[in-house]
Structure formats: structure tokens, C-alpha cells
Symmetry: D2
Subunit: 315 residues, 4 copies
């Protein structure tokens, strides 16, 4: 089968065929643990990658794999058909887009920006409008999974934004995750809200384990055995297994995400809860425990907020 | 292969061989939805069953399958090597054991009582001592799973109590659940505490979904789609799928367990938390929501406490 | 004016005339800080006092003031018309009444027992029935105030129980507090429930100050100035002033009541809340903070639970 | 004694002498219930008042008392030595100052703006800087008290801002409240934070009463009697008496402040708590209960959030 397509075209074909793609020009902005892992998978899939990171040295491993390194966001995106961004928070994304040398300065017509960061729904909504004004599109594309899942191309992805832009993005996303990116409609903020709900539910699972394991331990049971029983039966699920291990061992290393980062996510959850007048008592508790962890300057993974339960029980 | 063993002997052999057992004399006390399903599986496995229930008519289906029906707990257990009990709460178990015509009146030497009810750890501890004084044993044997899991012999079982008694019980339990019953040591109360932790963690998962789905709905998302996404990916687990369906549809029928029953379980959790001075803020919230559901006399499954979140958000 | 009355008669006359009373035979059981202060006021008012305390040495100061010291509760009450008890908890009160040499063994016909301890409503209800069976009466008579208020005869008292018995008790109570004891009806438990509500509301005031002062401090304000402003204006009330001082200074000495004692009171509040299905989220928080204070074995006044707020804020 | 002072001079003299003041030119912006009451007292004290309100008709009663009515904020302040503003929220204050025809357009040199609204500390900080740039001063001057306290000149006032400006303001404030305005330093935001703490503590008192009275009622006591006992003894304080009456009667009329207004205040409290990483569990509960009241569109005084407790108890 001969495929004829203009340079940089994106074809919506089945996943098993994606290696027959023309090489896409993709820009990847934001090279933290998640970003590097995702960018690496895009390179491996044969795409042509231009990368940018505020701290340039983070780009070195990708340069060795063949990526071009840009000095500014604007330079990174100027020839890109697809742009990925994965940064820490709303301020960083805003700067990346609208700052001096921000990507909005050089956004090519028709480009699609997959905005992967965990940010406020309104941030993506506003930036999506700015993209549209320049003839391009921002699609909110949050991802679920830790850096190791990103490296193994086992992320879960979701999308929301312009329908045509999502269509263009879909085949590229398939090299990053498992299954197809779930489509949450045309409002970019909707995908971010779903992402925030997911992080909240993770936090709830962690707090629930912390309370259960602590009670079990203080009553004389072996914390580890209780963990193993539950995560081998009723809660036989990777997220309970991986976070539960930290909680069971009360050892919150290595740091997948810092407490301040996920505290920001819970803050965004509570912001949305305010907007829509939804009391969320569990979210309050998780946020408060993360706040204490931040206030105490603990150098742990965010799941380390589970230590609040142990401390309050006098352990 | 010829097996030679005294009448009623229990051999610890591999599950695949259990049909070669001698028929055991088993008493089953308490024929609610869970009890009937478990007793049916014991009958199907070839055991000889004597059953008892306060409301006698519940025994009819088992009688048709070959079970003998006893008029009192004492009568039910008088020839039994193994006794199962599965009743609603501590008071019912106490009555079953120590009431007039209670099983302690007729407990055979060496009998093993698998106490499956969700009760306070101390209740099983005290009753275990009473059994021991009569040359028999009570092993706390809580089960995890709804009636349909019980019917499908897919319960998860755990045990705690006298080591030899657990050894006798193990092969009989294998027809009731999946995998081997996890052993939590010689303190019968320990198994109950683990069971309570499990019900608490289920409640936490329900509340977390209720908060997340309600926020999603009020922000404009489709509650059902959010449910389907999460339970197909990060929370791809039967308990999230089955309880989450109720929460997503806001329809809490049929009633697997009444709110008052699980409120009692959460009360027991909080009792243990008091005993061991473990603050459990999530448990407080679940208990309070169950209390409101009971106070409002809502005729729903216990997961219906999730409606508190919807109501508080003005839905 | 000449008063003629039989020995031990109690006349309902105005407070200013109480010195004209015939001396009453009063037994006082339980000589902690509160008990000693109250018993002293009864002695000063001219009553004839027989006292009892488990640790006998506590009775020494009262002996010097003229009190008779009894070796057992039964001995203390055998000639008494009025009995006061003020002990730590339900178990101590139960022992005092129904233990070997308990007061129920020697309760005179027609005696009135003012049960002042903070106990479960049901404890006083059950003991009241036992008194009635012996031709005497227990009136629940909780008191509000710290030991210094007791010494200054500035307690607030409330009563519930048999109407005639309350009538007999009323003039004696007037030397202990300010104003007249408020009557909460014939159910002795009712007065205890009001007492528990009061301790809960005190706890809520303390937690509220802790949160406010901690926020003020972390924002750069002077904790002490904020305390002084509020307790000089909107919250110009002794309980805010006295407890607030501890919270403002973060110094919880001397110990008016140990955390374990008031944690017991909050536990009783939550027990009643369970019985009547009343979710009380503030009570949960106060109880949990007291639990942590107990779990950490902190040697502070119960208001020291306010330190949980400071700690959680990383102070 | 003869006082000689330039027109519009403000003399720091004792309260009893304020009638000897030269008439001050005062502008009063924002004529809600609080504003009208305060402005009336300024008129009664002999000051010359120019008033402004977005809805002009609210100014009619003041016009009859001699006030001049201005069409815009700028017009109102153009000859003023002292400016008061009392509006609903941050947006309204911002508009009043920086909007078209905002007061910053016509602010006289040396004028002092007493900003009385309950707003975010940062709002007053930013506006104070804008005033300073124009040679004038904004002093944050929050007030505590309901409209009837304002009418009776029994408000409690606090101040923070430029020292000289506070000095000028002090004698004028004395006709509005009881006692002297407490000085919280030179950071205008500090006074707002204290105000927010006060509203939070009021909310905590209301929730505590709601929980206590509901428990009492469900246990069989008379809600009204419990209210009367506590507010006549331990909680003998106007705020407990006035708000407690609403809670006792479960009748939240008339509306002193709408739930949405005080929900905004609690939101500001929680915003500050985020900024300074101070977990405030009581504040979460009050805010959530106010959110439900807003979500249900209940037409009640803000204290009506106490109904959440009654509802959750099934009343």
C-alpha cells in the first residue's frame, strides 16, 4: 500500500500502522520526568522532535536520541505540526505560551497543541481561545500515570477540545499510552476537570489506606501483611499496590511528585468545588494533609501526606 | 487411591481434591443472603448440612437441596464437626451462642466454629474463650464480597484463631472463595479488625467517587462517562465498577446491605479507632453520611450514603 | 423570725437566709480539685460533712475544717440526708455506688444523691433506678466551671431527676454556684446531656481560637494582640478569656483537666450523637485532636489539643 | 479653650469633645444596611457628608438628613478629607476605586480612605499602594457588628495602615463604635485578616450551637431551654444570644447578611489559610455548609447554614 500525503500530514489510521507514518514535526516543551519519558517515546516512534526546557541540560538525553534543542518556546514550535507541553503548573504554562518568546509568538497555522499539564480548566480554556485567534488549536490532553508508566508507554490519556484538532492528535497519542485517548468533548477545561478528579481519587485511596493500616498496626497487626492482603484481593489494582507500598512501609521515596505539586492539584479541585458549590469533605482532608507536609518541608513523595495519620495516632 | 480416615475427619488436601472428602457434618447458622449462598456451596461440595435460621422459612431452599433444618442453634450443632455462623451483628451472634438453646449448650468436643459475621473484635475474642472452655474452638472467619460473589464462590476469606482449628477449617473454606484464606494469627479479633478495615476502605472508595462524579456533573460533564472512564482505566477494579455504577446512576437498588448494617460496621471501626487512639477523619465522614441516611429512613443500599454529596451540592 | 423544723429538714428559703438552716448531714464522695472546693463551701455554709475519697489523704484539708472522714462510701452516707458525688468517670461512679461497700449498701430512706460527675446519661439513669428501688433518689447535678470557680462558689449548676428530690436539693446547691440550678426535668440523663453539650461547645471555642490565632500568627500578626482584641470585644467572655490565654501563649499549664478526662466527655458526646443519629463534625474534630494529645502522652491541660492546629501549620 | 484649625482639619481630641470639631467633609460610598447606619451617625455628629451608591435611591434617607448625593465615586470624593467605603466584596471595592469615574480619579491630596468592606487583605494592600501614589492613604478599617449595632454606634472597629492617616481617622471613627479602634499596624491587609478571623469565629460559634442544640433536641430536650441556659451562663455573650436565637428557633429571618456574602468571607479565610499553609478544619466545615445553603438557594440569614446540622440529623 502506497501512502501519499503532504509533508507533515497526520493520517488517522489504526495503531498497528503508525510506524508507516511520515515523520511528524513535533515540538515538546517541558522536560521533567514525565516530559522526557513521553518525548522519548515520540522519538522512538520515528517522529522528528524539537524540544525545549527552561533548564536546558534536561534536554541532553533527548539530543543524543536525535532531538533538536531549541532555545525558546517560540523557536521550538515554529515549524511544528504538533506541540506537546508538560509543565509544573498554571504559571509555567502561561509563561510558556504568552511570555516573551512564548509559543504564541510563532505558532504555525493549523498546529495542534496538546496541553498535558495538570492545570486549572480555565487556564486551558483561555489559552485555547488565544490559539484559535491565531488559526491553531489547543487540545487539553491530561495524562494519568507515573513517570515509569510514561516510559513504558502505559499512560492513560484523555482529550477535550476542537474536534478536528483531536482527530489530528489521536494517532500521535497512541504511542504514549494504553488504549485510545478518551474524548471528553469540545470544552478543553472538561479534560482538566477529569484529571483533577483522578488525582483527588488517588489521594483518597492513599488516605484510606493510611487510616486502615495505622489502625491495624496499632491494634497489633502487621502493617505489611494487611497491605499485601488487600492489594492482592479487593484492592488488587496497580495504584493501590504502588502507593500502598509506600504507605505500608512508611517510606516515601523516591519522589514521583513533590507534595507541593499535588497540593496544587488538590487546590485546583477545591477551586472547582467552590465554583460549582460542591462540598468535598474528603478533598478538604487530603488538601490539609498535603498542606501540613508542605508546611513541615518534608522531602518526600506526595503520598507522604499519609504520615499525618501515623503522627496523629502518636506513632 | 484409598483414603482411610475416621468419621468426620478433615484432611488438609489440595483444593482440586476436595470432592474426595468424606462428607463432613456441618452446621450453618444464619441464612440471610450471604448465608444461603455460602451454605448452598457447602452442600454442592458434598457436605452434610444442618441449618438454622431465626425465621425458619429462609431455610426452605436449602432443605430442598438436602439440608436438615434444626429448630434451635443447639440442635443444629450437636453433631457438627464444623459450624458456620453468619448473622447481622454482635447481639445476634451473642444470642446464637449464649442465648437459651444457644450453640454453646451443645457444642461437641473438638468442633470448630467459623464465625463469619462482621462483629467487634472483642465479641469474637470473648466467645472464643467460651468455646475453648468447652473443648471447642471459634475461629474468626470474615468474608469479603457481596451475595453474588458468595453464590459464585468468589469470596475472599481470612482467618484468625487457634492454629490447629484453622488447619481443620482451611479445606472446607476452599469451596467458598477464591484463593486460600489468609491467616492473620491466633487472636480472633485480628481478623475482624481486618474485615472492618476493608469495609471502611470500600466506603472511602464510594465517597471519593461520589465527590468526584458530583463535581464532574455540576461542571457540565456526563456523570456516566466519567464513571466509565475511571473504572476502565485507573480504577479498573470490581468494587469501583459495581459500587461506582450505583453512584454514577444515583440509583441504589437492589439493596445488597442496608445502611444501618454497614453503619454498624463503621461504628465498630470508630470504636477500635478510639481504643487505639487513631484519628480517622475519613471514617468519621463515612459514618456521618451513613447516619444521615439512616436518620432519613432511606430505603437504599448502603452505598446510597453517596447521595449526601449530591444533596449537599444542591442536586 | 423563728424557724421550727425537724432535724435534717431542708427548707426552701432564699439564699440570703441559708445560714439560718439547721445543719444538714451531708456526705461528699470524691475529693479531686472540684470536689474539695465544693465540699469546702458546704462546710463554710455550716453543714455537717462526712467525706470519702479513694485516696484518703485528699481528705486532710477538709478534716481540718471539721469534716468527718469515712473509710468507705457506705460508711460516709449511712446518716446523710444529702449525698454529693464528684468523680472522674462512669466506672468510678459505678464503683462508688454499686461496688463492695458502695453507697447503695447503706443508702438512708429519703436521701437525695446529687450526682455531679460528667458521665453518660444512661449511667445516671440506671443508678437513679437503683436509688429509687431503695427509697432514695439520685438527681443528676452537673456543674459548669473550673476548680477556681468552684472555690469562689461561682459554678453554674443544673439538675434533672425526681421533682421532690430536686426541691430538697435546691437550697443546698445555692452555696455552690451563682444563680439557681436550672431544672431540666425528671429524666436524670437530660442534665448530663446538657453538660456534655457544654463541654463540647467549650472545645469548639478553643479549636476556633486555635485556628484563628494560628492563621493570624502565620500571616505576621501578633498572636497575643489578636487574642486581646477578640476577648475584649466580640468574645468578651470568661471562657474565651481563660482558655484563649492558654491558646494565645501556647502554654497549657497548669492542668485544669487532663486531656484524657475531657476526651472521655467528647466520647460521651459522640456516643449520644450515635444514639440519636446526629452527625457532629465539630465534635469529631475536637475528639480526634484530643485523641492525638492523649496518644502523644502530652502532659498539658485539655485545651492543649489546640496545639494540633499549630503543629499542622508547621509551627 | 479656643480651637483654631484650618478648614477640614482633624484634631485628635477626646471623644467627649468631638462636637467641637469643625465640620469635616466626609464622603461615604456604599449605602447598604451597614453603610446607611454608619453614614447616619456621621451626619448626626455634625459632619458634612457627600454620599454615593450604585443604586441611587438608597441615598434618599441620608439626603433628607442633609447629605449631598453624588452621581459617581469620583464626584463624591473630590472635596473630601475623609472617605468611607462599605461595599459587598472585592470586585465592588475595586470598581469603586479604579473603575471609570472611580474615586482614584479625583482623590484629594492627603485624603484618608477608611476602607471598611470585608475584602481580601491583598485587595486593600494593592489599593493602598494606588492611594499612596496619589498622595493619599487607604486605611483598612473593618467593623464588627450587625446593622443594628451600627445604628446604635456600637460597632467594634479596627485599623491598619499608614500611622499618620490612622491618627487623622481616629476621632471620626469614635462616633461609629464603642471604644477606640484597635490598631493592627501599618500593613492594611492585617486588619482584614483579623476581620476574617472574627467572622470565622462567629461561624464556629453558630455551628457549635447547631450541633449542640440538635443533639439536645433529638435526645428529648427542649431546644429553646438549652439555648436559654447556655446563653444565660457560660455563653452569656451577645453574639451567642443573637445568633443562638435563630438557631434555637430554626428561623433565620430577617436576613442580616446573605449566605453568599459570608460564604465569600469564609472563602477569603480559606484563601489566607492556603497562602500560609494553615489547615483549618472548622473553617472547611463552615464554608461547606454555607456552600450547600447557597447551592440550595435558601433565602435566609447566613446563620441559616446551621440548618445543615438539623437536616443531616433527619429533622
Amino acid at each position: 500500500m502506497v501512502q501519499v500525503a503532504p509533508k507533515n500530514a497526520i493520517l488517522a489510521i489504526s495503531p498497528s500502522h503508525y510506524l508507516t507514518f511520515y515523520r511528524m514535526n513535533i515540538a515538546f516543551l517541558g522536560l521533567g520526568n514525565m516530559g522526557v519519558a513521553m518525548a522519548t517515546n515520540l522519538l522512538k516512534a520515528g517522529h522528528q522532535l524539537t524540544v525545549y526546557n527552561r533548564t536546558a541540560s534536561k534536554a541532553d538525553p533527548l539530543k543524543e536520541l536525535g532531538a533538536t534543542v531549541a532555545a525558546t518556546p517560540a523557536e521550538a514550535v515554529k515549524d511544528a505540526g504538533i506541540i506537546f507541553s508538560m509543565v509544573t503548573d498554571d504559571a509555567a504554562l502561561q509563561e510558556l505560551c504568552t511570555g516573551p518568546d512564548g509559543l504564541l509568538q510563532a505558532l504555525p497555522q493549523g498546529a495542534v497543541h496538546a496541553s498535558c499539564s495538570t492545570v486549572a480548566p480555565d487556564t486551558n480554556r483561555r489559552l485555547a481561545e488565544a490559539h484559535t485567534r491565531q488559526g491553531a488549536h489547543l487540545v487539553a490532553t491530561p495524562v494519568f500515570g507515573k513517570p515509569d508508566a510514561a516510559a513504558a508507554a502505559k499512560l492513560w490519556l484523555i482529550m477535550a477540545g476542537d474536534d478536528e484538532a483531536k482527530q489530528k492528535l489521536r494517532p500521535v497519542l497512541e504511542v504514549l499510552g494504553q488504549g485510545t485517548a478518551q474524548d471528553f468533548g469540545t470544552d478543553p477545561g472538561a479534560a482538566n476537570l477529569v484529571k483533577l478528579c483522578g488525582n483527588f481519587m488517588l489521594g483518597a485511596a492513599i488516605e484510606a489506606m493510611a487510616e486502615a493500616f495505622t489502625l491495624a498496626q496499632k491494634s497489633g497487626l502487621d502493617r505489611q501483611q494487611v497491605y499485601e492482603f488487600f492489594t492482592g484481593t479487593l484492592f488488587n489494582l496497580p495504584i493501590y499496590q504502588s502507593y500502598g507500598k509506600l504507605v505500608a512501609e512508611r517510606h516515601y521515596q523516591p519522589i514521583g511528585a513533590a507534595p507541593a505539586i499535588i497540593r496544587k492539584d488538590l487546590r485546583l479541585v477545591l477551586d472547582e468545588a467552590r465554583t460549582y458549590t460542591v462540598p468535598m469533605p474528603f478533598a478538604n482532608i487530603i488538601f490539609d494533609n498535603l498542606s501540613t507536609t508542605v508546611a513541615k518541608k518534608e522531602d518526600v513523595d506526595w503520598a507522604g501526606f499519609a504520615e499525618r495519620v501515623a503522627e496523629n495516632a502518636g506513632l
